[in-house]
């Protein structure tokens, strides 16, 4: 789950990391009031789950409150990478002497949290990694001992020659590491970490991604979810306990298991079609999930055919068949349905489907070919 910048800033602040003052606004009037309270020059920043906000015109400087309101009215409602901006952050514009990068991820290779720092701050870290990888310093942290003081200071001295500044940066790294574990993050980054002309070191922008598996034990973090930043069908799917990712094609896919769901999408493409979605109904045998899945797929007007690909293991074929029959009784389908079903309770499933007027295939390739042809017809 992605957090907005203003939410990530709040977490950093709570863990003792210096962050400039500021507040979030949903209307131009609110933006004006915040700018007034802050005094001086402010920055108005779109709060949206997308990179490249500056380039898209979602970050603007304002010399006085009326200008902040004007910027806010332009940015609110703006679309950045397909996402509508509903909130802006208004913060004091900070004078910057230098910009660095500090981030923590869980590294799959070393199976440990890795602290990354770079003196090339303010730009996308992937870009730095591509063009000047020698400017990124990495340290795998042993989670049993955490970030040791000399490790943090050693990295901080790569960023700052001034020892006082390096000590501030090392403290920020230690606090970021503490926050990382405390909130259950899979990524936490400060970019830029700025040094001001008067020698202070502070976090000007923050990004935190939470591991979805942590949300159960962190209800206060789960409550930060902004559903307006997601496709409505994806919100609906999550509430129904389904894993769903919306795509642009015309073949709706309903599959059991994530790997098979991906392979099914790939096979749709292999036969010249385009998948409309990724959808995993999971391992359980609940007809209800099939009904929910079909409801979500059929709300997409681009779907021209629906493909079921079920390999019964724990998932029972007869449960899926019952789900299909129930769903099509509740809301008759307007697009063709191609069903591939094999494995556990296959015979019973075929009987249920045949009785309801559907036919079922057992071969995956044949089913995908048919679905692609139907979608194109």
């Amino acid at each position: 789950m992605n957090l907005h910048e203003y939410q990530a800033r709040d977490i950093l602040k709570r863990y003792g990391i210096p962050v400039p003052d500021g507040d979030v606004a949903q209307t131009p009037a609110e933006a004006r009031a915040i700018a007034q309270r802050l005094g001086g020059k402010v920055v108005v920043k779109a709060q949206v789950h997308a990179g490249g906000r500056g380039k898209a015109g979602g970050v603007k400087l304002a010399a006085q409150p009326d200008e902040a309101a004007a910027h806010a009215s332009r940015i609110l409602g703006m679309t950045i990478k397909g996402l509508t901006v509903h909130k802006v952050l208004v913060a004091p514009a900070t004078d910057i002497a230098s910009e660095s990068y500090v981030g923590i991820i869980v590294d799959r290779g070393s199976q440990a949290p890795v602290l990354m720092v770079s003196d090339a701050g303010g730009i996308d870290i992937e870009e730095v990694a591509r063009t000047t990888p020698e400017r990124i310093y990495r340290l795998a942290i042993d989670p049993r001992y955490g970030l040791l003081p000399h490790q943090g200071l050693g990295l901080a001295l790569r960023l700052y020659r001034d020892v006082a500044q390096a000590r501030s940066a090392a403290a920020i790294m230690a606090n970021l590491y503490a926050a990382f574990y405390a909130v259950g993050a899979s990524l936490a980054e400060i970019n830029p970490l700025a040094a001001t002309p008067d020698g202070r070191v502070l976090a000007l922008d923050a990004k935190i991604v939470i591991d979805d598996n942590e949300l159960g034990r962190h209800p206060e973090i789960a409550a930060l979810r902004d559903s307006s930043a997601e496709a409505p069908s994806e919100v609906q799917a999550r509430e129904a306990g389904l894993t769903f990712v919306k795509l642009d094609g015309s073949v709706g896919c309903c599959v059991n298991g994530a790997g098979l769901a991906m392979a099914t999408m790939d096979l749709v493409k292999y036969y010249g079609g385009a998948p409309a979605n990724f959808l995993d109904i999971g391992g359980s045998s609940n007809p209800r999930k099939v009904v929910d899945a079909l409801r979500i797929i059929t709300t997409d007007p681009h779907v021209k055919a629906i493909l079921f690909n079920i390999f019964g293991g724990i998932t029972r074929g007869d449960d899926v068949a019952n789900g299909i029959v129930q769903a099509t009784r509740q809301f008759p389908l307007t697009v063709p349905l191609v069903i591939r079903l094999t494995g556990t309770n296959e015979a019973e499933a075929v009987r249920i489907l045949t009785q309801a007027g559907f036919s079922a295939l057992t071969d995956m390739d044949e089913a995908v070919r048919q679905a692609v042809a139907r979608a194109a017809a």
């Binding site: 869980v106 799959r108 290779g109 199976q111 440990a112 949290p113 992937e126 042993d142 989670p143 049993r144 990382f180 574990y181 259950g184 899979s186 591991d211 979805d212 598996n213 942590e214 159960g216 034990r217 894993t243 990712v245 795509l247 599959v255 059991n256 298991g257 994530a258 790997g259 098979l260 769901a261 991906m262 392979a263 999408m265 790939d266 096979l267 749709v268 493409k269 292999y270 998948p275 990724f278 995993d280 391992g283 390999f311 019964g312 293991g313 724990i314 998932t315 094999t342 494995g343 556990t344 995956m364 390739d365």
Partner: protein
């Protein structure tokens, strides 16, 4: 022969009286797996289905029954603790089926296991099966046949699909291993490839990867440098968009890294026969064995 599990496997089930644990314990017993013990705290002294003794702790169960392998079906919130408990009881092979363990928990679990010399398969995996000898986990026994092809995969049902194609075309399996769909797992492709290379009962390996991470690329290097047996590879997620998690917690293209194209190219460079679709497995195997 086979890898990791065989006729010597003496299995303990953590969470044996739970919904999933009891269902799959019956399946494993029916398959012929030697299920020697179960653990559910507070239910020590009972017998599961009148057959399998239930203990309060893994330590009790392992001591009384000489269990050498455990399979974990407990809910995500308790699963990391169940892994620690199994390692403390001296169990050498720990198979964790549970999905949803926080990655940060795994950053602490994995070094703990490493220090105690225990092997973890999973989490978030279907387990493994050595056909006719032992089944540990949830892979349906009826789709597998005994034979000489090793299968290792990050997926569940996609593995069943490919194993089904193998079985119906005369390619039986030595062992099928689901290593799990999480970003941090105990046993990776390389561990399994090395075991299959060393196993005299395995002639060829089918490796089923997916988008996210670089495990497949490292496995490709291992195949190039350390394997003489033919390897057939598949990567799921060729049509997956970047930055989106495709069901498995580990199946995500981060920035431009971890794409299917990159992994398939690494396979091809290493001399691995690359399947474009699941149905290619049998023709490619026929070419190589």
């Amino acid at each position: 022969m086979s890898v990791f599990i065989d006729l010597e496997t003496r299995l303990l089930v953590q969470g044996i009286t739970g919904r999933d644990g009891s269902f799959h314990t019956r399946q494993m017993l029916a398959y012929g797996t030697k299920v020697v013990a179960g653990v559910t705290p507070g239910k020590g002294g009972q017998r599961f289905d009148g057959v399998v003794p239930v203990f309060d702790t893994v330590a009790d169960g392992a001591r009384e029954t000489r269990a050498n392998t455990t399979v974990i079906y407990v809910p995500a919130a308790l699963a990391a603790s169940a892994i620690y408990e199994a390692a403390d009881a001296g169990i050498g092979l720990i198979v964790c089926i549970t999905e949803g363990i926080p990655v940060l928990d795994m950053t602490k679990v994995l070094p703990y296991l490493h220090e105690r010399g225990a092997r973890l398969i999973g989490p978030n995996c279907p387990g493994l099966i050595s056909p006719t000898q032992s089944k540990v986990g949830i892979i349906p026994g009826n789709i597998c046949t005994p034979g000489r092809v090793g299968v290792v995969s990050r997926s569940g049902t996609l593995t069943y699909e490919i194993v089904h194609q193998l079985s119906t075309n005369g390619f039986g399996q030595s062992t099928c291993i689901g290593i799990g769909g999480d970003p941090l797992i105990g046993t990776n492709f390389i561990h399994c490839l090395a075991a299959f290379q060393a196993d005299p009962a395995t002639d060829a390996v089918v490796m089923i990867g997916e988008i996210g991470g670089t495990d497949e690329q490292q496995a490709a290097e291992f195949v190039q440098q350390g394997m003489t047996k033919p390897v057939i590879g598949f990567i799921a997620g060729q049509t997956a968009p970047p930055g989106r998690r495709m069901g498995h917690a580990g199946a995500i293209i981060s920035g431009s890294a971890g794409t299917a194209a990159e992994k398939m190219a690494a396979f091809a460079r290493a001399g691995i026969s690359v399947m474009k679709r699941p149905a290619d497995v049998v023709p490619l195997l026929r070419e190589r064995v």
